[in-house]
């Protein structure tokens, strides 16, 4: 049986991202003054989960050979919204959470409908909708702030440590993967998303439901970005319509997706790879911290790591003996 070889090849990108993260995290922990303690892990997990959620959102759209430049704005918009409505009695909090998630779904669905029926290129459509979503966020929270009766109980429960020192945020992320990503990737509509990204013409000719696939991808991307926004609120207890934050998360999500072995041409990769990509990308900042470098260096190092990782991924090009394969 040579099945395992095909399996390995299929998950190569994800495994490389995992290895990259493990190496970087090991260096970080080894040099951290406190060492491998529950607190260090929890802090790292909390920071990583935010980007991981937005990167998952980005993955879904990138798989269909699209790109979503509004994920950062949805993330910020839902953060601002959550800072108002996730408050009060447990009942109100539950409704608030649902409201935040529904907002993300609606934002994603709008993106999907514009791309599918408006026939706009995803990059243009999501720049436009992203600006609108950010505008709404700014209208909600012209100044940073939070509700007086913000549900800090729920926030603390989801950002602290479970018994045994396991970060609650990490457990939540695993649950989200199991509830959203795994069913999606194994469902016919997920298969259709891969097919659409790999070759839209062949997918159409095969009778694949391209429209449902794209709609599902954009809508779930909105939902995942909203979960990210919710978590941001849990960490900060407040909402802030920060343009810089939105843009950073959008760009970093693309970086994480690439690090995670997801092809920007579509059809190849997995959200799990993107999660490891996100954690690896986040660890760069932590490494600078333990090596006592100025935080100002962070963008430069992140750029270098991204370039190196992408170059390693492209190393196979040196083995190509047929130049036509360079363009495949």
């Amino acid at each position: 049986m040579i099945d395992w070889r095909y399996r390995l090849a299929e998950h190569r990108g994800t495994l490389i991202a995992l290895a990259l993260f493990l190496v970087m995290f090991a260096i970080y922990v080894a040099n951290h003054p406190a060492g491998f303690t529950a607190n260090v892990v929890n802090t790292a997990a909390n920071k990583g989960v935010l980007l991981a959620l937005v990167a998952m959102a980005q993955t879904l759209v990138v798989l269909t050979a699209g790109i979503d430049l509004s994920v950062g704005s949805i993330f910020i918009l839902t953060n601002c919204l959550a800072s108002y409505i996730v408050a009060g009695s447990p009942m109100m909090v539950a409704l608030g959470v649902l409201g935040v998630l529904a907002t993300g779904i609606v934002c994603g669905a709008i993106n999907g409908l514009i791309v599918i029926y408006g026939r706009l290129q995803p990059i243009v459509a999501t720049i436009a909708t992203g600006a609108i979503y950010f505008g709404i966020a700014l209208w909600l929270r012209p100044f940073p702030g939070g509700a007086d009766d913000f549900s800090s109980d729920l926030a603390d429960a989801l950002t602290s440590q479970l018994p045994g020192g396991i970060p609650a945020s990490l457990v939540t992320l695993v649950v989200i993967v199991l509830v959203i990503w795994v069913p999606f990737s194994r469902s016919p509509v997920g298969r259709a998303a891969y097919a659409t990204g790999s070759s839209e013409v062949a997918a159409y000719m095969s009778g694949v439901p391209i429209k449902s696939a794209k709609f599902a991808a954009y809508t779930l991307a909105g939902l995942l970005a909203a979960i990210g926004g919710l978590f941001l609120t849990f960490f900060t207890y407040s909402g802030e319509a920060s343009a810089a934050n939105g843009a950073t998360y959008t760009l970093y999500s693309i970086a994480a997706v690439v690090l995670g072995g997801v092809s920007l041409f579509g059809g190849v990769g997995s959200a799990i790879g993107a999660i490891f990509g996100a954690f690896a990308f986040r660890t760069i900042g932590d490494l600078l911290f333990v090596f006592d470098l100025e935080p100002l260096w962070q963008p430069l190092f992140q750029g270098v790591v991204l370039l190196v990782a992408v170059s390693l991924g492209a190393a196979r090009l040196f083995q190509i003996r047929n130049r036509l394969d360079l363009f495949g």
């Binding site: 095909y6 469902s187 298969r191 070759s199 062949a202």
Partner: protein, 517 residues
Amino acid sequence: MTDQVPLFRMEGVSKRYGGVRALEKADLVVHGGRVHAILGENGAGKSTLIKIMAGVVAPDEGRMLFRGSEVTFPDPASANAAGIVCIFQELSLIPDLSVADNIVISNPPTTFGMIDRRAQRRIAEEALARAGGEDIHPMAPVKDLPLSRRQIVEIAKALARRPSILILDEATSALTAADVSKVFDVLRRLRTEGLALLYISHRMHEIAEIADECTVFRNGRNVATYAAGAKTDNEVVELMIGREYRSVFPDKPPVAPEDRKPVIEVRNLSWTDRLRGVSLVARPGEVVGLGGLDGQGQRELLLALFGVLKGVSGEVLVDGEPVSIGGPSAAKSKRIGMALIPEDRKTEGLMLPMSVRDNLSLAALDRLSHFGVIDRAAERSAVGEMIRLLDIRTAGTAIPVGALSGGNQQKVVIAKWLMVTPRIILLNDPTRGIDVGTKQEIYQLLRKLADSGAAILFYSTDYDELIGCCDRVLVLYDGAIRRTLVGNEITERALVASALNIATNEEGPGLRPAVRG
């Protein structure tokens, strides 16, 4: 033996694209348990006909009856659901997905809304076995398979949908003779199971072998339907082209004298394990064929000469002097003067959205420009000359080349390279999926080019072409030239025999090539 109500009937169906009538009041009757061949030149309406049947395009008028009741297909999925499945000439496989994923793509088996991978694997293995592709691993990514294997996957994928009408549009054009006979066994079995098979091919002997009845299309109309074997090949071709038909192939000149100085000489060319010590010469005025089974290194040989492959060992001499060709731009330089007509015109030959003019002048831009600026007038006259020379049927030079028919697209690819007036012309299966009329024009053009002093290396999977066009044929096997056939030695029997002879040769590669002739 035909059943009372036909399985499928099309009445008065028309389709226009802009001002062009692709299909004009076409009728077609399809019965179960029969192989129905559709013949016609490119642009005769065959593709439009099957696209309408498969739900890819909607007809302007007319109606379709399936099992006696009227149907409309707004998209391919609804045609599939009705049981009409088409294997298109342009492959419809998804490159990044695995073979099994592709086979079940239209209707994956699910349990609780998720794809059941075990069931998928079982369906894929079963379909592959039915299509004669037991050697293909269901988990292999499609993009790693060679073209002929992909075609088998394509057939397996169609069978997995349990069709009642299976349309094969040039489905065998990428297959070797051995694979074709396997596919034919499959088709015969499907016929006994009661399926209706619509078979579109430009290979006359395949139609003679498999078809029960034939319908000929010309200019968008069905001009004749007859029982297979009721007409001679010449009569059929006359029906197709609507004019009297003489020999497809131009006369060959006497075999070129051995003492003529070769334009290109290749010594001991090797590349990875795909080319093993290939040596050949081509003289001006010669058409040298490359034969053998598909995938024996013919394509790699042409790419190696054109400078596309890295790490090639051996020597290439042009006009008796050693040269090293670093890539296509070096190959086309005045000093070497080489052109390669690629196999896949859509990806390697043309920029489909760009205009006919831009495509034609692309390779020759350095000759048409002064100080880095394109001389529009020179370009216009050169392009016009090529369109006349090759009789390219286009509504203008500014329309996108993707709007032309397949045969005319291929003419544009050839014309593009003729603009650089090459002395060495490499052709990689240039007539695949092209109608008889255009083929004939291409053969004549090849001979004309040879007569004007070019040396031509011509790889073809069609034995008739090698026999009809070539002065010499080099038969390749496992990356080495195993036999050379000259002049009258080039017969179908000799070509097949040398390929089979070699194929059953247990001594395998590494032996000294048995060059004769």
